[in-house]
Symmetry: C2
């Protein structure tokens, strides 16, 4: 007897966060199925808490869940998760473009703002901002209909000597990486050209905006996604 809920059911912020976590995990693995432990790690909770929540989300028909078999989002769950990303990223855009926050300062605030419940609000915000397609970290902003703009991006770490591209996104974006990039004056839109590859530690010498040369570690170069 699954409680198939009305289309505009009322979810708690916690339920929403779990759906986002499952979405994120299935995106980054390419595999639609997420495991209990992976969700627990993503959410910083005990595995037992995840099991509880999976039961509840399953009751509400937002996910498909079988004991020991992992979970994947159902139609409704995916819709909710996508709209959360839309809200999160539009708010981040607002915070950076209008309120002049730095790109490493907006995530936690957007984590709260994304749970404010109002379709009207988010659509008006979208229009007010000029319907931006990417957030301050280069992540695509889902459209009102749920579609997500895609692009073909290449990690800096895979380029050969002489090749160049424009920084367009980040693989992952912990605040520490963003603060580092801010320090070395690299941001979305920066041109990066490979000067030399160092086989020993996979670090790379690059020319920034045809102006100055710096060294980037393997860890950094794997995280910088370029449009070639």
């Amino acid at each position: 007897m699954s409680k198939v809920q009305s289309l505009n059911m009322r979810l708690t912020a916690t339920e929403e966060n779990y759906l986002k976590a499952i979405f994120k995990l299935s995106e980054e693995n390419g595999n639609p199925t997420a495991t209990t432990n992976a969700i627990a790690a993503e959410m910083n909770t005990a595995a037992a808490s995840v099991t509880d929540m999976l039961r509840r989300l399953s009751e509400k028909d937002l996910i498909h869940y079988e004991k020991y078999k992992g979970v994947h989002l159902k139609e409704q769950g995916r819709k909710v998760a996508t709209m959360l990303l839309r809200k999160h990223r539009l708010w981040e855009y607002f915070l950076v473009e209008k309120l002049k926050f730095e790109w490493d300062e907006v995530h936690d605030i957007a984590e709260e703002l994304e749970h404010v419940r109002s379709e009207e609000l988010i659509n008006r915000l979208d229009n007010y901002l000029g319907q931006p397609r990417f957030d301050p970290h280069g992540d695509p902003i889902p459209n009102a209909d749920g579609t997500i703009p895609t692009r073909q991006l290449t990690p800096l770490s895979t380029l050969k000597t002489g090749q160049h591209g424009v920084l367009t996104g980040l693989q992952e974006h912990p605040d520490s990486l963003m603060r580092y990039l801010k320090k070395v004056n690299i941001s979305i839109g920066t041109k990066i050209q490979v000067l030399e590859l160092h086989e020993f530690d996979e670090s790379v010498s690059v020319r920034i905006d045809d102006e100055r040369d710096i060294e980037l570690s393997e860890k950094v170069s794997k995280n910088l996604l370029l449009k070639i």
Copy 2:
């Protein structure tokens, strides 16, 4: 052993809402002490739930509470309540001025936005909006230091024939009143002049912006606050 909490203690949205309710009740009665039942009515909860919460807020040293004697806000509680009003009203201003919502559409959204925790956010929003002093309903926006702009306003119902003023605030502002005023094209800034007082039902004939004449009921005229 009251747990005197650190200055930036973490409150739940529910705790914050109780503090706002107590603040509102003490403002509108002129009496700083609020009763359990009054709070229950304001919060739409059972009196028993209020008693529970009062105990908790008292533990945190936000209110002064003695069984059967009612409560009043302490320094910290008053500060929290004032900052909530600041946030609520700044967000309402944003929603109306920037996102072009109508004044009767913004309250519920602001009820959620006001709980987003970030001093930095609200101060940047304040600057972005040009440090407005009043919200779309004419209510004063507390300053960052907690002071609240005051004005001397007169209810339309107390004016004599011939007197006039500019609509500057509302006594209370249920959505129904705001929708009515929207329909008859009266808003903050509208000039209102008394043409005739009707003793029978205390209704009043008024001239709007020196252009058109309408009738307003006693209930409406008591709610319109004018700057003479």
